[in-house]
Symmetry: C2
Subunit: 604 residues, 2 copies
């Protein structure tokens, strides 16, 4: 079994019957690592997930004891800083799986589902315990196992599959992980009701009964996750109700049992006419939810993607996250590399998260979630180095102040037995990987330009005349959409400081320039280069760096099978980067007619 | 049951046991139409498919009697000219179905397969007899029921499904229709061989045994159809053998039984790098097959698409069809509207066929085939008016000199009870429909610009940076690929007269201009307009005509359910045409920067 960053840990025992609680597990982990040393675990239920370490004593809540033990082990194995006392910034540190019961994983790049196959539960308990241990070792505590796009028979998770769900909850419980389940807003209709209207008393009673049924089996279920009125999913709009009414309907059913209702804010017009310039997709979430601030029940959490589009390589922070004052919110990240190389191209996310939290004060949100990047592949993550994204997300969810450098160096130390020089080389490339990918793909915050549907590889106008609201409107003269107050007005959704930063092209960060502005190819960048030359330069540099990355990875002593997988993928990344470089450069060269100042090859 | 152009015929008898042969059927058809009149059917086996009508006597081969009867009935019902003597130009008048055994139809727009479902044979005998009657009524005599892309378990058609195939052959036999079956070149490997090499004696013996087995069950099977070394299909190239060796391997197995081997010439590099300008896809078929002229056995027929690309709205005739001297060839057409509106947009093909035969002397080919456009929809064809394409193809295969006007007017007379004025209106729009579709889609022979994979609706650069060899290379200055002797040299594949016509942009027909030439937007067309203005004009006109078509169809007295289906589709066509118009105009306007001289709306 591939151990990922637990490679220095002992395998879990085959007979797991002696480990019933997180404290049991903490005890087992410590005694396995340091059999000669005796630790005292001192429960203090008031501390919850938090812990205190003093000498050989760990004090903490039931889960706090486990997190303390893992913190200690990470410290001993990888020199991670060991706080004498720690508690997580966010009580809910969630992983959202987009797994379907047929065994497929929507936007999954690490094999099929670890949980399902053939419309049944189907898993290897050992493999799931190892996944649970990976999660627990970095403090993750909620797992939503089913896709937010609820395809039949996943509606049955609240019903005929409840015993299976309960058994799975039992499996994850010793790891301090509570399950969550995605629900379909129209489920009462499946059950014979004529509507799913939140104001219908029968519908309300249906959800109350459903919650009672579920909590009878799984008293510690974290709650429900909902994608409503989005990309074809049913929702309260069908009945002329607001999303506050829709969310509260479910939240009230969950409240008696202490469950939360996580409501995704991924709502936009996905039937937009490209000819209609009055709609600007990034404005949609704010327009839909901001007016509802104050109307959501206390146990509702709005889950909001980091950017206003959809997990592009670079987006400004979602203005909705900065504007809600009386509503609980979760930041949603995506570990699955849907638009960012699909676990073929190397893409370490921590630097991107760092930037998000530079604009998003950590106290603005009350929870944090990420779409999973794991699956049935032997190494769980498709690309062995993609494991750092689950690892790093756990540490970030515990403490959003953590630096990308800390995440990457700890992960390398835990995962591989490298000499310091190799650690340093690998760390440097991992930290650079996001910028490399960004350079060879669509330029300067423009986003998209990706092959429709598959979302791997370039297609500059693949979505240009489509329904998805993701346009670049590149012409022979200029490219981009003016999203300032003089344009679509998107910048007005931001608080003053950010509004100012983005409003003026001369103040706007280069890397977001084409997100906010429509600019001629001759536009002068801060460093004096023209916009078009900057586009060419980035693309030549990005592809060159991808080639150098391959060489660097060849020189590193990865153990097999990681080495082969990593090098195979790096070769594909190099080709992908060359293709992106050439397609994007050709696309803009055909439009602008401007030659490359350095006379590098741009194809006709 | 929707009778299509047999609407004035009586339904076939439920008990079909009295009709065993085409002559039986001829007798039944005549006696049903004119019960009081007595016809004499005089068999003359030497006449084969041909017939002679003199007074009340029809003389002909077994099938000739049937075709004579249908000619007589078409004459009496629709005033079709009645020859005193007739025989078909081509002995093989074939329909190729792209039906898979799972019930899907590749590029099918009329519902699921009429033959298969759930990886079994599954059909309604009555429905199939009606299909057979439709075919026989216009002289079609070969039906290949299975997709040239042979997906498991369709390999089993030569094996475990042989009894089913034989039963189906029995069903079609009274209609003078012989079955054909698509085979997979690698089938010996499925049977445990380590290779499918044509020079391997074991492989040769395998095919001989397979043919013997099949012909024991179906002595009149027409033969096998093969797609080899094309779009991922296996073929002789795997073993370093030519396609002559590959085709002869199978042909020799079929020869003892009188079967033909139909070998599709749809071979090109579908992994082309868009950056590589040295490959020009339209040249591929000629380059592959022309050097093999003379090497094919007598019972091999090369099946060649009408154009060098793939069933675009307008292509020059394939130079391969004009160049083979010692090889039997079949022209391949496509009735399924893959790239031409998918039986949503009205598209009557006869005018296009007329143009093909203007450049292709009918005697150059020895057979004719078309990809089917029927399926399980109630009306068989998705769009009721798309039936004309199967109807017309039958008449064309019999006599390629037939005019589009004759085809359309006969079809209307047989199908609908319209007053002359309505007949004329419908006929005019049907005859205009191909030019209308052509006007609003990709301009002047450029082709493609279609949504990848689905092939419905516009996407100007959807295939531009892809592997398929279908590039327009449009820049701010010019569009198209120079395929003259000064360019890729494609024109050199033509005989002198055509070469001359296409070589010079000033001689080249406008509608093929961008197939052969790369031209600046300011290029002067023969009528004085600029190229870009011509593009705009065509697109405005095409969309306007689609709107007028909808109005015209509304005014016609179609019976239900045809009327509703026709109008629903015409509404979709109108929207499709508007979208094409706007996308293509915007695409070229963004590139060229040239405004429309008539100041019509072009979106930014």
């Amino acid at each position: 079994m591939n151990m990922n960053w637990l490679s220095k840990f002992a395998p879990l025992p085959e007979d797991f019957s002696g480990i019933q609680t997180p404290a049991d597990l903490a005890r087992w982990e410590l005694s396995n690592w340091l059999p000669e040393h005796s630790f005292t675990l001192e429960p203090d239920p008031s501390m919850g997930d938090g812990f205190r370490i003093s000498g050989s004593t760990i004090t903490g809540g039931e889960t706090g004891l486990l997190y303390g033990a893992y913190a200690l082990l990470r410290h001993m194995q990888a020199g991670a800083p060991l706080p004498s006392e720690s508690c997580p910034r966010y009580p809910l540190r969630m992983i959202d799986c987009w797994d379907n019961m047929d065994g497929s994983v929507e936007r999954g790049y690490a094999g099929r589902s670890l949980f399902f196959e053939g419309n049944c539960f189907a898993y290897h308990p050992d493999r799931l315990r190892h996944l649970a241990r990976l999660m627990a070792s970095v403090g993750l505590n909620v797992l939503c196992i089913s896709n937010v796009n609820v395809h039949e028979p996943a509606q049955g998770l609240l019903d005929e599959f409840l015993p299976d769900l309960s058994a799975l909850a039992d499996l994850f419980r010793p790891f301090g992980i509570r399950l969550m389940v995605s629900v379909d807003f129209s489920m009462p209709i499946r059950d014979g009701f004529s509507s799913a209207d939140p104001r219908d008393a029968g519908v309300q009673a249906w959800w109350q009964a459903a919650a009672a049924r579920v909590y009878r089996e799984i008293p510690d279920l974290a709650g429900f996750l909902v994608k409503a009125d989005s990309e074809g999913r049913p929702g309260p709009f069908t009945y002329g109700r607001t999303h506050a009414e829709g969310a509260n309907l479910l939240a009230r059913a969950l409240r008696p049992f202490g469950g939360v209702l996580v409501w995704r804010c991924f709502v936009y017009n996905c039937r937009q006419d490209w000819r209609d310039h009055t709609i600007d997709r990034p404005m949609a979430a704010y327009d839909t939810y901001q007016p509802l601030d104050g109307q959501f029940d206390e146990n509702v959490i709005l889950q909001i993607k980091n950017g206003p589009f959809d997990f592009q390589v670079r987006e400004p922070v979602s203005p909705l996250l900065l504007s809600m004052q009386k509503t609980r919110m979760a930041l949603e990240l995506q570990l699955a590399q849907e638009y960012t190389g699909q676990q073929i191209d190397l893409y370490t996310m921590a630097p991107m998260w760092r930037e998000i939290f530079q604009d998003l004060p950590p106290e603005r949100i009350q929870a944090i979630a990420a779409v999973s990047n794991f699956g049935r592949d032997e190494n769980y993550f498709g690309h062995p180095l993609a494991a750092v994204n689950l690892f790093g997300f756990g540490l970030l969810a515990w403490n959003p102040e953590i630096t990308p450098e800390e995440i990457v160096s700890q992960w390398i130390l835990l995962t591989y037995d490298f000499l310091p020089e190799d650690q340093e080389t690998l760390g440097r490339w991992m930290l650079a990987s996001r910028r490399i990918y960004e350079k060879y793909t669509s330029p300067l915050g423009l986003g998209w330009m990706i092959t429709p549907h598959t979302h791997y590889g370039p297609n500059p106008s693949g979505y240009e005349y489509d329904l998805w609201g993701t346009y670049h409107r590149a012409s022979r003269d200029a490219v981009g959409i003016n999203r300032t107050s003089a344009g679509t007005g998107y910048t007005c959704q931001y608080p003053p400081a950010l509004r100012q930063r983005y409003e003026d092209a001369s103040a706007c960060p280069d890397l977001l320039l084409l997100f906010f502005h429509r600019l001629p190819y001759g536009f002068r960048m801060k460093d004096g280069r023209s916009l078009i030359q900057r586009i060419y330069d980035d693309h030549f540099e990005g592809a060159e760096q991808a080639a150098r990355l391959l060489e660097a990875l060849k020189g590193l002593p990865f153990p097999e099978p990681d080495r082969q997988v990593i090098l195979d993928r790096a070769v594909r990344q190099k080709e992908n980067a060359e293709n992106w470089r050439d397609v994007i450069n050709t696309f803009f060269h055909r439009l602008s007619g401007v030659p490359d100042a350095l006379e590098r090859k741009i194809f006709d």
